[in-house]
């Protein structure tokens, strides 16, 4: 045995917080503090915005108003969930708008050719998945830059949609299933919102409670550490793009149903709106840090902001200015907090 007289443990511990010892209330509080940190930025601004709007606009605090905010942003939320996976892994996907446009147009085409709407929807989700797989292989396997690949594929996908339609919007007004998704409700809440809730919930479970979810965090936080721990970092990188692509396909079905038509110019710039929401929600652009609850907060903030501007009768052009300033402020706040945290 190694027990020697001087074997008493040196008390040189240990956490930056100081009080974080073994257990008890201190433990819970410390964990809570670290978790709350993530949402402080956008959460605070969102609360302020909501308080202001509820005092100035009578209709703001109504159930219908909130339903309409969520319905209008269900598509963005689904895209943002997929994008959160990509950003957590340390990348970004600029092709999501293109994938949505292509999927919508192909779906309309398939339905026009007599395929049942169910199958057409399933087929375009598969197609979107393949688009994501292509991105993922080019980035994760071949090792090209995610910016270049997704910028290129995004333009190409939208280009294909334009070529196939000659730039025309394809009407889906006659399609029964599309109309049902558009109008259908369950417990007074529209199908679009339900779909978004299910996607968000599934995403949260995957990221928090499955091995794959933790791998995404590990790869984004420190790729080399993840590799040395035996994680297949290539497979994880490919998979996050597949997830983002697949959810873009689903978002396309939702968007086409909402608008009762598929246009090659649909969802232009949606990936940037979604990215803004994800970043507002505290996800790091460098990867490894962030949550889907934060993403939800980000989407809700943008939705409330847009709605508030409409309600208040302010020129909608202000939306860009405010959301841009808040985004920079949120990231700046994050930087200041991190600057303090690491000595």
């Amino acid at each position: 045995m190694t027990s020697t007289p001087q074997d008493t443990e040196p008390d040189s511990v240990l956490t930056a917080g100081g009080s974080a010892g073994g257990g008890g209330i201190g433990t819970t509080w410390n964990r809570f503090r670290h978790a709350a940190d993530t949402y402080a930025g956008v959460g605070g601004v969102l609360v302020l915005l909501c308080v202001y709007l509820s005092f100035t606009q009578d209709t703001f605090l109504t159930w219908d108003n909130w339903l309409s905010i969520f319905e209008a942003n269900a598509v963005v939320l689904v895209v943002a969930v997929g994008l959160t996976f990509v950003l957590l892994n340390g990348g970004i996907d600029l092709s999501l708008g293109g994938i949505i446009a292509l999927s919508g147009v192909v779906m309309a085409e398939l339905i026009a050719n007599g395929l049942s709407a169910w199958l057409a929807m399933l087929a375009v989700i598969m197609l979107a998945m393949m688009c994501g797989l292509f991105n993922g292989l080019m980035i994760g396997k071949v090792g090209l830059s995610f910016l270049v690949v997704t910028l290129g594929t995004g333009q190409a996908f939208r280009g294909i949609a334009q070529v196939r339609t000659g730039g025309q919007t394809q009407s889906l007004f006659e399609v029964d299933l599309v109309k049902r998704i558009n109008e259908g409700e369950l417990l007074g809440i529209s199908w679009l919102i339900w779909i978004a809730i299910v996607v968000l919930g599934t995403g949260i479970v995957i990221l928090r409670y499955t091995g794959f979810g933790r791998m995404v965090y590990a790869c984004g936080g420190n790729r080399e550490a993840a590799r040395l721990a035996g994680i297949n970092v290539t497979a994880v990188a490919v998979t996050v793009f597949v997830i983002a692509g697949t959810l873009a396909g689903l978002a396309s079905v939702m968007d086409s149903s909402r608008l009762l038509g598929a246009s090659p110019t649909a969802a232009t710039g949606i990936e940037l709106t979604a990215a803004a929401a994800v970043l507002l929600g505290g996800t790091s652009f460098m990867g490894g840090r962030g949550t889907l609850l934060g993403t939800l907060l980000g989407v809700v903030f943008l939705g409330v902001l847009s709605k508030g501007i409409t309600l208040a009768g302010i020129s909608p052009f202000w939306y860009g200015i405010v959301s841009g300033v808040v985004l920079i402020a949120a990231v700046l706040l994050d930087r200041i907090r991190n600057g303090k945290a690491t000595p």
């Binding site: 670290h34 499955t210 091995g211 933790r214 936080g221 420190n222 297949n232």
Partner: protein
């Protein structure tokens, strides 16, 4: 088997070979990092891997752990030949590495960091409380009493390094490799006790790589010495003295290809007073005279490069002044230092010095650009031709990318560029690293020519032969502090190695 119940090694197991490495060779480009290395490790044994910087210690560790592959040779674990396809396979086989670079996931919890290697199946459900309990066992083993569910980033330095150790122990390794794991620990002794306990109670074998000779003596049963990628011998526990180890690590004869001629010393051209860098706790005073060459010796991490970079204005000095030709530097920007007459030849010529895809002529003109002035293509080309002739850069055109040149010729381009504005103080950081012997001699000649022109040179190098062959004086750094200054006549490789490793002068 839980970690709580120690399994005592039966006497039959004692001395059984766990790890056997045979004829390992590995090259990086033209550099032979390992050349026919064989070693054996018995159950419960602690082996120290000793050698100078660049002798191949870390490369060997990485090969054993499957992080990189060997060109030739086999690694056997318990008599079974391993062909590690990656870190994953090595971890499964029971080889764990605590590497020189921290592999922390700052945003994940401590528990997840400790058990990161268990994240194998993507579809498996992760239970936080369960993980926290499993990780607590290993945290306790390394003596950390913290909440495993805190993010790692919330821990202090020192505690984070212990988490790295816990992470390696959590893989229940048969062979644990510690590559400079103690350099960032506040209390290495504590770690040694942890390792010893594992070795004695559970028959784990360990390989430690450390520059601190004291630690080799303290922990290891045997030392295996590498030099330039080749094994030079082994020392048993009884033979482990600082002098024996360091002379085996160095053990070369001084070549006579140093072109150094004595130059008349002039005025002081560079002087630091009370300079505190972010790496050195204590102020450093160094002065260099015209025509003089002062060496900076020290191990990796001893703050050599940081010192040079601080003088050159690339890093902020925490305190103290730098005086060049009687001008005190003020805002400490690289521009100011260059204008005052300082030139730094950085350590990593590709990452910090040259623009690899740019042409020779472009690289040479780099420090001539001024934002609001036009370029002078004619002059740039003329100067590039002159430099190629002057510095003996072997190329058939000045219009080829520097990435096409060999290491030695690329280094000459960098030297030519750094000498372009005729500095009075030249800071050289590892000027001959990765350069073949012929180019080395040429670079020494270039340095000598600069000295003859009255330049004062500060030379940081891990090549002790080079320091002794070239320098008038050598300042030795240990963990950021100057621990000794040796005159040319007193300097021996053994003495420098001893001082750099924290030993005291005999």
């Amino acid at each position: 088997m839980s970690a709580a119940e120690p399994l005592h090694v039966s006497s039959a197991d004692e001395g059984r070979i766990v790890l056997s490495v045979e004829g390992i060779c590995r090259s990086f480009g033209p550099v032979r990092a390992l050349d026919g290395v064989s070693l054996q490790l018995a159950r419960g044994e602690v082996l120290a891997l000793a050698g100078e910087n660049g002798s191949g210690k870390s490369t060997l560790a990485k090969i054993i752990c499957g992080v990189i592959s060997a060109d030739e040779g086999v690694v056997q674990l318990d008599g079974e030949i391993m062909s590690f396809s990656g870190p994953d396979a090595a971890l499964r086989a029971g080889v764990a590495l605590v590497s020189q670079e921290p592999t922390a996931e700052p945003y994940m919890t401590v528990a997840e960091n400790v058990l990161l290697h268990r994240l194998r199946r993507p579809w498996a459900i992760v239970r936080k409380q369960h993980m926290a309990r499993a990780a607590a066992v290993y945290l306790e083993e390394v003596g950390l009493d913290i909440d495993p569910l805190l993010p790692l980033g919330a821990l202090r330095h020192g505690a984070r390094e212990l988490v790295e150790i816990a992470k390696a122990l959590a893989t229940e390794p048969r062979v644990l490799i510690l590559d400079e794991a103690t350099t960032r620990l506040p209390d290495p002794e504590h770690l040694f006790r942890v390792v010893e306990r594992r070795c004695e109670e559970r028959g784990m074998a360990a390989i430690i790589i450390t520059h601190r000779l004291r630690e080799i003596r303290r922990l290891s049963h045997r030392a295996f010495v590498l030099r330039d990628g080749k094994p030079v011998g082994e020392l048993e526990r009884g033979e482990l003295s600082d002098e024996r180890i360091s002379s085996m690590m160095v053990g070369r004869e001084l070549g006579d290809f140093f072109a150094k001629h004595p130059h008349p010393l002039g005025e002081v051209v560079l002087e630091t007073t009370g300079l505190v860098t972010d790496r050195s706790p204590n102020p450093i005073d160094i002065s260099v005279r015209s025509g003089e060459i002062v060496g900076i010796a020290g191990l990796v991490g001893s703050g050599r490069s940081e010192l040079l970079e601080t003088i050159a204005g690339c890093r902020r000095a925490l305190a103290g002044t730098v005086v060049v030709n009687a001008t005190t530097l003020r805002n400490k920007s690289p521009r100011e230092a260059i204008d005052a007459g300082i030139s730094l030849v950085p350590e990593d010529r590709w990452a910090q010095g040259l623009i690899a895809h740019d042409l020779i002529v472009g690289n040479l003109a780099l420090s001539r650009h001024r934002a609001l002035r036009g370029t002078d293509r004619r002059r740039d080309r003329r100067k590039a031709h002159e430099a190629v002739a002057d510095y003996g850069i072997r190329t058939n055109s000045i219009d080829v990318p520097v990435s096409n040149l060999s290491g030695g010729n690329a280094q000459k381009v960098l030297l030519a560029r750094c000498f372009d504005h005729e500095p009075t103080a030249l800071l050289l950081d590892e000027p001959t690293r990765g350069v073949d012997i012929g180019a080395k001699a040429e670079i020494y000649e270039i340095i000598d020519r600069m000295l003859a022109r009255g330049v004062g040179v500060l030379l940081a190098s891990s090549d002790l032969m080079e320091l002794i062959g070239l320098c008038d004086r050598i300042v030795v750094l240990h963990e950021g502090e100057p621990v000794g200054e040796l005159a040319r006549a007193d300097a021996t490789e053994e003495l420098i190695a001893l001082l750099s490793a924290g030993g005291s002068r005999p």
